[in-house]
Symmetry: C2
Subunit: 104 residues, 2 copies
């Protein structure tokens, strides 16, 4: 299992209604049959010391494998990534992560 | 439920053996009885286009509530945060996140 983190920095516009109502359902519909296990959306509300959150929205995508993610991105990337400008001008920081522990 | 994300940027030293073998067990021992549900550690391996991952390690802490996290941080913060210099010189980006969806 791997986890792909997509992190949208604070600042630029972000249409949460479109994101939750259209974009994420599209992501789950296209990618769940291709090895996407879970897509957890979180919204930044602040730091522990009361400052603004650096990232306004993050999504944590758990996949069977890096290979499954690569194939899914290749097959549906144009549709899914092409949808991003409809809800934000932010440039997401995306990274692939290993899970070094058994889940705990 | 809330999710606290702790993200260690790439660059500075990070002793993964100490982190997994000592620090995370300490976190779970102190905070699980105080409302910590899950602590998922991930290690950045790169970006989809083959660049280095911006964050070398992230931990995703799921809590009952922001209040539970605040109380746990107040009660055990000196011990837990005081342990951080033993495994890294990186300054973590920490933020509190809401979960705008039911889990999907």
């Amino acid at each position: 299992m791997i986890l792909v983190s997509v992190m949208y920095p604070a600042g630029p516009r972000f249409d949460m209604d479109y994101y939750l109502g259209h974009h994420m359902p599209l992501v789950r519909e296209r990618w769940s049959p291709m090895g996407l296990h879970e897509a957890k959306v979180v919204r930044g509300v602040g730091t522990p010391d009361g400052k603004p959150a650096p990232f306004q929205v993050m999504v944590l995508l758990t996949w069977d494998s890096a290979d499954a993610f690569a194939k899914a991105a290749a097959q549906h990337g144009p549709e899914i990534f092409g949808d991003i400008p409809k809800f934000t001008d932010a440039e997401a920081a995306v990274q692939i992560n290993e899970l070094p522990e058994a889940s705990a």
